[in-house]
Each structure stands twice: as C-alpha cells, then as structure tokens.
Symmetry: C2
Subunit: 281 residues, 2 copies
Amino acid sequence: MRSPASTAELALLVEVSATPTPGNVDRERDLDGLRFEQFLAGATGARPGLDLAAEGQRTGAAFERAVDGMAGSAGTNTQFGALLLLTPLVRAAAEDDCTPEAATAVAEGTTVADAADFYRAFDHVDVRVDDPPEGMEPLDVRRGSDAVPTVEDRDLTLYDVLESSADRDGIAREWVGGFERTFHAANLLTDEPADRPLSERAARVHLQLLAEEPDSLIATKFDDETAEEVRRRAAEINPADPTAVDALDSHLVEHGLNPGTTADLLAGGLFVALQREEVDV
Amino acid sequence: MRSPASTAELALLVEVSATPTPGNVDRERDLDGLRFEQFLAGATGARPGLDLAAEGQRTGAAFERAVDGMAGSAGTNTQFGALLLLTPLVRAAAEDDCTPEAATAVAEGTTVADAADFYRAFDHVDVRVDDPPEGMEPLDVRRGSDAVPTVEDRDLTLYDVLESSADRDGIAREWVGGFERTFHAANLLTDEPADRPLSERAARVHLQLLAEEPDSLIATKFDDETAEEVRRRAAEINPADPTAVDALDSHLVEHGLNPGTTADLLAGGLFVALQREEVDV
C-alpha cells in the first residue's frame, strides 16, 4: 500500500527515530549543531528525488535531486550516504523487485552521466571523505562539479567511481558488493519480535551492525584503529543492558565518534524490510 | 528552499515529535493501538495528496488522495483533521500566499465536486464524529461515498458542508472562520525562543492552545463539559513545571482524553510559521 519512494522516506524517519543509536542523532539525542528535526526536514526534502528514482529517472539525477532537496530543507548534510544507498534500491523496487540482484543491475547500469550527477551532488553539501589515492586528485569528490570534465574524459560510470572507493567507504562497498550488509540488516530487522515498536527493533539492529564491522565514517574521520575500537566496544556490551548502551552512547558522543555509515546501512535495511513487507510500523 | 508540500509534511512530523503533548501520541508516548511510527508513516503516505494540493488540483481531490495515502501507509487514521486543515493552506501558499485571506479564498472556492471528494475520503478511515443534527442524517459523513448523491442533489459545496459543522468541529471552524486559531498558533510559535528545538517550542504552544479553548475531538468523544474540564486543567498548570505537565498527560491518557483537534491546529500553525520562514528546524 506504500509506494517505494514513500517507503524510502519512512525508512529515513524510522532510522533517526530509533533510540538509543550510540553516537548518532536520534529522537532523544541532538548532537552539536545537528538536531533531530533537521533529519525530519532532510527526509521530507529528499522526497522529490526519491520519487524520480521510483519513476525510473537516471540514478545519478535522482540522487542529486534528493541531496539538493535534503540540504535545502535541513540546512545541512543529514542523510547523504543513506540517499546514495536508497536510490538504486528504490529504482529496483519500482522497476523490478527489491532484491540484491535487481539493485546490483541498477548499480551496474549507471553511466558517465550518472557519475557527473554524483559529483554535482557534492556541490550541495559538505561530506566527510578521505583524501583520494595518488593520481586520483582530479576526481576528489570534494571538487564537486569541477571534477565532471575529468569524469567524462576518463569515461567513468557511477559504478566505476564507487568501485574505486569501495575499500574505504561502506556505502560504495554496498553498490559493488551485492548490497550484502543492507539485505543482512533487513534480515536482522525481520528476526526482531514484531510486537515491539519498529524503531525499538531498529535500535537493536543498529547495535548489532555496529558490533559486526568497523564504521567507515569513523574510519574516515579518525582512522581504522579507532573504528575497530568502536566496533569492539559495541560487541562487548550486553545489548539488553540499557546502562551499558547509554555508557557507549556517552563515550561515542564525548569523543565525536559518529557511526554514520552504520545509520545509513540501517536506513537501507529498513527500506528493504518495509518494502518486502517483512516488517511494518 | 522547501516546497509547500514538503513543509506541510514536515509540519506533521514536527507536531508528532513535540513532547510532551498531554493526551496525544508523541515521540515519547504511544497510545493503545496507535504508535509514533504510524504517524511517521501517515505523513509520508499523505505526501502525494499534498503535492496535488500544491499543484492546484481540486481541494477535495487532493484531500481525498492525502487521506487515502495516509490510511494506506499508517494502517489507521492518524492525521485526518490535520490534512483537512493543511490542504487549503498548501494550495494557498503554492498559488498565492500563506495568509488567512488566501486560504479563505481557497475554502470559499470549493465546489460540489470537492464536497463529494470529502465524503469519499471517509471511505478510507474511521473518524470520530457526532451524530448529525435532525434532518441531516443523509449527509452523515460516516456514510462516506453513499452520501454523495445527496450532496449533489442539495448542491452543497465543501465550504457549505463544513459550515454546517463549524459549531461542533474545530477544523471546520477554521475553514469558515478565517483560519484564526491556525494563524494564532503560528504567531505563538514565532514568539517562542528560536534557540530551542522546534519540537520543544511546539510542545509549549500545544499546551497554550489546549488551555485556551476546549478541544472539539474530546467534546465529540465525550461532551462539552469534559472538553472544558480538560481546558481548565491545562490552564491551571504551570507549563514550565515538567511534573505538572506529566501529571496532566497521565490523567488524560488514563481517561482516554485525546485532544486531537489541538494537535491538528498545531500542525496547521507549524505549517504557516515554517512556510513564512518565521521559524525553522
């Protein structure tokens, strides 16, 4: 009864409502200069871009529109990574089916024009990324649309661009790796007891995802060791112990350790599980 | 930077996020069989209808589409009254300006076809309403689309239909009374300190609105005396005393006293204040 674009927006809203999500903004936690309400605004602003993805518009164009709308509405970058993950999933769900294969087909079908749109999306926001590898400086995403001529000269598709950063970016890894953790997150959500509020189930899955693999946003902002240390801390606590979860939350917030990629993966998993009607609100 | 439809959806989301809103679902309070997440889903489901209102579609048709999408996504009635209030405001903001005069012009411009759409909207949901006055049984909204032939025979516009229930329904009263309390709510929001989260400002305004006039949903579900008693209780507490506000909340929830019209008016006020850029997230 929900359209894929509506479901994607709902996934963003449930993700930010899930609490506690240690280190992240949620419905009981604002961070310095980043408020819960800005995430609500980001999700509603992204909707026209998500609608374009559902209508089969070029993946890059839909993504750029979603990011533009998000940033204009939230006044900052709230859900860039989540939108990069959701765009091919929404298109796959609208055109074909919400499966790893269909989403991968969308990813592999991207063109040089999509890559140019992707770079243009960076004009709308500040996104935390690593310095590019040697020889890749002309393709530094922080150059935004200034990098488009190089993208075109080198004939790179959006898939190619993301493939080149898959070793250090968790969302790029989804695009080129069969959306493995996204569908894994959906399975974890489906396994949670259905009589609990969806955002409560989502909070538990957030903690599981955080305990399983180092968060790539933390690795980018700090380093691999810090990301692994956060993963280890998340794995060591008892998720059913609210005091331990709160202590982890306080520790992460205090040190500016914001596991944003894990939140993006959770939003993707929520989309898949809602879209397949394996969970509901 | 936000479209009117996006702003309207954001208003719905901020309204349900405002906490505490005594007696109502909010981000820290689910009610029996009515959860916070269902309001998120209702808002995202209503978006295509809000888009139609912004595109200048017939007011009744846009409203019916919004209600259909809301009910399909939330699985229940979450925001019927708020959508009835928002539809003419969105259209006015998109076409002309977000003023009482422009919204009233939209309301007065409705036709018999809009009235028919309004009745059809009741096919999608259960809405709590009073028995109709004597002689009005064929126009009981609970008849849904079955009442359409009578609406057409009697040549009633949507404005006419709402005028006839303005004495007992707070949203109908807005339609035919210059949207007075909606714009009043927007002014109250604008007067709140801008350095606090918007949902916190909204919670304070909710309490002020509740203290000012009896809630018409409570009057419908119970009676006028009960609604006035709730108003009095709200007026007597110190809004800056969290213990008193929580006690009011518990009292209302315990007795099933759900001031839903006040929540709808707050959503309308949030739309106006956000649309006029008098407040931001």
